[in-house]
């Protein structure tokens, strides 16, 4: 509608050239079909209004509404979309703009093109998600989940006890050992049929054990402790025993000394005198002491004690006896067997391993005990049936062999000593005996009358008689090494050395005092020791000095005690000396007294043989 007015306005402007086609045309050109209006009509003002209504849009569209059940006019949109182009300009300061700028910054760093399908911008995630190289698109779904609800239930906690143990190697070992023992016991039980008696006795045992708490169980530990305590107290002595060598021996050559070591005594045996001493071969610290009395008028009970020098304050084994002990001997191999001879003529065998204080065998009047005091017992080798046997000699003139057969002591008279008509009408009284060290069956018997008889065990014949002494022969001893030599001592103050092939003594020593006992040393064939009643110990070494003692030492006070016995330790260089007060003193031999014989070379042999020849003359 406005096109006509416009054109008219434009035409009103005078002298404007109109561009028609491609050339200028001057003047007014009127189309042929133009309205011819008068000037009044031309000056009429016609108002035209512009509105935004779309002339093409319908203006009375009606729609059926179900709600009102009628037709209602609906609003018509008058907008005409002529052209639409979505832009990609984003405002800088908006969120999206900032995001894009950041992203662009990263992309520039990486040097990669930003993908047009920037899913990140679409899904609004803060972290850049690494997608796969193919086109990926996230698809998420959210499942429905039930709201959580807490349900609690409380139970009573199970009873707990804390347990701790250690598993060491030895605990494991102990467990294994116990298992083994259990298995063995089970085997034994299976083998032996269980009887009611056994169960009863077992029950009794259990009761006993629960009552006896302390003493029995700690006895072993207490014993060890006692020894330790004693060792502490007598430490110096132990050190001397082990290491001390008298340095003065170098100057005093050839004389030697005796170093006093332990002294043992037992309170309850105060009134008894030492009547026998014997070392144990297997345990060289153990020695046996027989206590009795040499007083023939007063005879009482006796004791058999065993001491070890590891514990010198108390004896290890104590056996009280009804009659005085006069002699004892410890078996060489089975050192727990001890043969004892008593004043009342009986002999007994004790077993140190058993618990009781009674001997395992004892001879009685029926089983052939002696009728007079037994002066010497000697173990011998087992007989053919491997029963142990020992010999005893007594003042009733018999030498008896006792054999331990199962539970009995079987005796066999070996020899009856001959009657000596001039001295007494009775048989000679045997007072000492010794078996040859190498020849089993050969032995010597010394008698009250001063004679020594050489005999064999398997024949009752006497091989030889030696007129040894004027008084009773207290001790005869074979030399440990030399097969022909023996020594005898007597109350007639002499010691005589013999060669059994010769009837007269080879050497005689007069000590001017009654001699109690003599003993050969186990380490040398020329060394022997003697004790006299005046309290002296004499040690001789025939290799060095044939006529005099190397050592003559007063060990006990003369007035108080008399020495009765002596014994050499088989291994250590110590001797024990017993006196009539019940004390046993031990001494260490100084080096001079311990000289062992030299190894025999040819020259030595010749010299030795020459010496022998001169001696026998």
């Amino acid at each position: 509608m406005y096109s006509r007015s416009l054109l008219y306005v434009m035409l009103q402007d005078e002298e404007k050239t109109v561009e028609i086609g491609g050339g200028h045309i001057k003047g007014l050109i009127k189309p042929p079909d133009q309205l011819k209006l008068t000037e009044a009509e031309l000056k009429e003002k016609i108002t035209r209004v512009l509105n935004t209504q779309n002339p093409h849009a319908p203006d009375n569209i009606v729609r059926w509404t179900f709600k009102d059940r009628c037709f209602k006019p609906c609003v018509v949109d008058h907008t005409i979309h002529i052209f639409e182009l979505e832009g990609n300009l984003v405002y800088k300061n908006s969120d999206e703009g900032r995001r894009l700028m950041l992203k662009q910054g990263e992309v520039e760093e990486a040097g990669e093109e930003d993908r047009p399908d920037s899913a990140a911008s679409k899904t609004d995630k803060k972290e850049p998600k690494i997608t796969n190289i193919f086109n990926s698109c996230d698809r998420a779904t959210q499942t429905l989940h039930n709201p959580p609800r807490e349900i609690n239930c409380q139970t009573e906690p199970p009873p707990r006890s804390s347990f701790s143990a250690s598993a060491n190697q030895w605990e494991i070992y102990d467990a294994y050992v116990q298992e083994l023992q259990k298995q063995e016991k089970n085997k034994e039980k299976q083998k032996a049929a269980p009887s009611e008696k056994d169960e009863k006795s077992q029950k009794k045992m259990m009761l006993m054990e629960t009552q006896d708490i302390d003493l029995n169980k700690v006895s072993k530990a207490a014993k060890v402790l006692e020894r330790m305590v004693n060792l502490n107290i007598f430490d110096e002595i132990a050190q001397d025993f082990a290491y001390y060598e008298d340095p003065a021996d170098e100057f005093k050559f050839p004389k030697g000394t005796l170093l006093p070591l332990w002294k043992v005594k037992y309170d309850q045996a105060k009134k008894l005198s030492v009547t026998a001493l014997c070392w144990n071969n297997k345990y060289p610290d153990l020695f046996g002491v027989g206590m009795g009395s040499y007083n023939f008028c007063k005879q009482g009970s006796g004791m058999l004690l065993f001491y070890t020098y590891k514990n010198c304050s108390f004896p290890e084994y104590i056996y009280p006896t009804s009659s005085g002990v006069l002699c004892l001997d410890i078996h060489e191999e089975r050192t727990y067997l001890v043969a004892v001879g008593f004043y009342d003529g009986s002999v007994a065998v004790y077993n140190l391993k058993t618990e009781g204080k009674e001997p395992i065998y004892k001879s009685t009047a029926k089983t052939g005990k002696h009728t007079a005091p037994v002066w010497q017992v000697c173990w011998q080798n087992d007989d053919m049936d491997s029963n142990h046997n020992f010999y005893s000699v007594s003042s009733d003139g018999r030498v008896v062999s006792w054999t331990l057969v199962k539970n009995e002591l079987v005796f066999t008279d070996i020899i009856r000593l001959p009657v000596i008509p001039c001295v007494s009408n009775f048989t000679a009284c045997g007072t000492s005996m010794d078996f040859h060290k190498q020849i089993d069956y050969l032995f010597l018997v010394g008698t009250q009358e001063g004679k020594i008889y050489k005999c064999k065990t398997y024949s009752s014949k006497i091989l030889e008689t030696y007129d040894a002494h004027h008084m009773r022969v207290d001790t005869v001893k074979w030399n440990h090494f030399h097969p022909k030599v023996f020594i005898s001592c007597s109350s007639d103050w002499t010691i005589k050395m013999w060669d059994y092939t010769i009837n007269t003594p080879v050497l005689t020593f007069d000590l001017k005092e009654p001699i109690g006992d003599i003993a050969w040393s186990p380490y040398s064939s020329t060394v022997f020791a003697a004790v006299t009643t005046d309290g002296n110990v004499h040690v001789f070494d025939l290799n060095i000095n044939k006529y005099e003692a190397l050592c003559q030492q007063l060990v006990v006070d003369k007035k108080k005690a008399k020495l009765t016995h002596i014994a050499f330790n088989p291994i250590h260089p110590i001797i024990i000396v017993g006196d009539d007060r019940g004390n046993v003193n031990s001494f260490k031999l100084s080096p001079n007294l311990r000289k062992k014989p030299k190894v025999r070379t040819l020259t030595n042999c010749r010299l030795y043989a020459q010496n022998e020849m001169t001696c026998t003359k």
Binding site: S166, N168, Q169, W170, I172, Y173, D174, I213, D214, L215, K217, V218, S219, K220, A221, A222, K223, V224, L225, E226, M228, V229, N230, N232, I233, D235, S313, F314
Partner: protein
């Protein structure tokens, strides 16, 4: 009897018998010392025994001696008990 004998020896200050749990069973010392000795020595003996047996399980502790300036403590362990003796060796 044995304990009396040991007590009568020279220099012995006291003797304690402790059972395997470490509780003193018999003693000649006063209560506080006994408890102290028993507790401490029990641990020592366990440690010593454990050491010995760890080295060789067939071996076992025979006795333990602790010598100090003033006295000497001797411990003899047994199967169920152990004995402690305190002695002054220089007396």
């Amino acid at each position: 009897m044995l304990t009396r004998r040991i007590q009568g020896q020279k220099g012995v200050q006291g003797i304690i018998i402790v059972n395997s749990e470490g509780i003193p069973v018999k003693t000649t010392l006063d209560n506080s010392s006994t408890v102290q000795y028993a507790g401490l020595i029990h641990q020592l003996v366990m440690k010593a025994r454990s050491t010995v047996r760890d080295i060789d399980p067939q071996n076992d502790l025979t006795f333990l001696r602790v010598r100090s300036k003033k006295n000497e403590i001797m411990i003899a362990p047994d199967k169920d008990y152990f004995l402690i003796v305190i002695q002054n060796p220089s007396d």
